[in-house]
Symmetry: C2
Subunit: 329 residues, 2 copies
């Protein structure tokens, strides 16, 4: 990994110019001081290497360099991976990610989106809890917004990376059916407050088409909290699970171990999103892979293009692949 460069501080520029740090800061942003002072400060900053600082550059350009990254729920390990991946990719583009957690709450999501706009982020990347919220159309008028997962209703986004959940759900349910399962527990983090999320609509339709008997059960996305739900569902007699997040499937692993049930001989588990840890479990978790690296690249390319004002492709539909690893008996 590259070693960090030593950068000049604003104090060193202040010392070199005989100005206060505050005056240097203003000068770098072209504010409140004379043209001559601005010129003098910029020259000193360049000599000392202060201009290499992306924040200074961002200030000079009238941008903050900050991109808001509003996550649906960071309890989910895959969303954590996505957030970290996006932040790293933004860093490679000299941007900074401000990561926020909507905690699965649509009202919180709206409040945080507004707050980020007021904090003057240059753009927003959102994995929406409530893609149908009326806020999005309003927000897109003042800020480039890129959405990941679902489209934002009626909003003119700068780009979107949409999951083909229909195919993902079909892959998962057909795999379970092929292995002889007819009765499934479907564990999803979706709450009553956002009942019409596309993935959940598909699962009902597909279960009908495939003549599967499903119980749809709400489960939290953190493995520890999902374990509690999985215990109850196992005790109710379910032995085949389709989990709408690998994080939830980890809860099924933990609860099965507690109950002395073996995967895949006693219990079958299918995940959704293919978190990096899923291949390390014994047996590995069979899951639906969305190519997290591809999502990260596409979303960051779109948001950077939107901030820079260069036109790019606006919509990518992410196709899933089944990763079979042995957790479905």
């Amino acid at each position: 990994m590259p070693q960090p460069r030593k950068r000049a501080t604003i104090r060193e520029v202040a010392k070199a110019t005989g100005l206060s740090p505050a005056a240097v800061s203003y000068a770098l942003r072209g504010l409140q001081v004379s043209e001559e002072t601005i010129e003098r400060v910029r020259r000193a900053a360049a000599e000392l290497g202060y201009e290499a600082d992306p924040i200074a550059r961002a200030l000079a350009s009238g941008r903050t360099g900050m991109i808001g990254l509003l996550c649906g729920s960071l309890e989910d390990l895959w969303q954590q991976s996505l957030a970290v991946g996006v932040a790293r990719a933004l860093k490679d583009n000299d941007r900074y990610a401000l990561i926020l957690d909507a905690a699965g709450d649509p009202a919180r999501e709206s409040a945080l989106a507004r707050q980020l706009r007021d904090q003057r982020v240059d753009a927003l990347i959102v994995q929406p809890v409530d893609p149908a919220a009326s806020l999005w159309a309003e927000l897109c008028q003042s800020l480039p917004v890129v959405s990941i997962g679902d489209s934002l209703a009626g909003a003119r986004t700068a780009g979107e990376v949409v999951f083909d959940n229909r195919t993902g759900v079909t892959l998962a349910l057909e795999h379970l059916r092929r292995r002889g399962h007819r009765r499934l527990a479907v564990l999803t983090s979706t709450r009553a407050s956002t009942p019409d999320r596309p993935a959940d609509v598909h699962v009902l339709a597909e279960a009908g088409r495939l003549e599967l008997d499903i119980d749809v059960i709400t489960a939290p996305q953190s493995p520890a909290a999902a374990t509690e739900v999985a215990r109850r569902v196992l005790d109710a007699g379910h032995r085949a699970f389709f989990c709408f997040a690998d994080s939830i499937a980890y809860g099924v692993y933990a609860a099965s171990a507690e109950r002395g049930l073996r995967i895949p001989s006693d219990v079958s588990v299918m995940g959704y999103d293919d978190h990096p840890m899923s291949g390390l479990l014994t047996p590995g978790l069979t899951s639906v892979d969305w190519d997290i690296d591809g999502i990260v690249r596409a979303a960051v390319r779109m948001v950077v293009a939107a901030v820079d004002g260069t036109a790019r492709r606006r919509r990518i539909v992410q196709a899933p692949e089944l990763r079979e690893r042995g957790s479905v008996g």
Copy 2:
């Protein structure tokens, strides 16, 4: 989980008062409008339930309600858990966390800390990459700062939750020694740019005391990247590992599986920090547990007390416990 309340928007308050949304926003912050208007807006906001919004309250109080959370490296899964835990605990205190990733780079850490201050966060929680940076003393003069992990040199922090790394390292090395290991690979994310991190100083001293032959090797904290390093170290003949993060130990699991080596009969692995996934592996990863929930509670209590101006205990030393699970043969 509680269902979200429907909150009135600033637009609804604007409609009710006949003012523009901008004027309402100013009025709620007590700015630029007459006392009479401020009173009228506050009354309308209260009637419509807008005051229940923590952001509106924060604005009215002259605070943003935002707490910066500057993480050393979010590639590390445990730091991801810590960040999510802190964000959730702040939420329970009606605060919002802005999560940033210093990506292990001291220069980036400084730039982001300054940027957060300029974004007017009410306080900062930091897990420092470079606890000796001169910036911290300066920053603490303008902002309450709580540090997690190591003390900030010469800085008047609002609080600190410091790990007793000396005991943690001793627990780990003594456990490996008791099992008969004399030659160890120590995988650490510490880079040459921050050579004097206390945990690394201890490991050298303790290895000397216990007459262990150690190779200290830098490894990235993401499991995928750590796997590459682990392959090399296995190929060089090492069979016992002390990893300074469970995330790195996951890389040793992956590389061992690739090489057809079994844990713990062929390879012994010890982690550090006890990530929630460590107990789900086969065999479970033996690790050093820092009580992440206790750290989260303490740090959030300190930062909220500092913002609210109520005095509290300023320093907590976090004691580790060994979690033995079977990965050390």
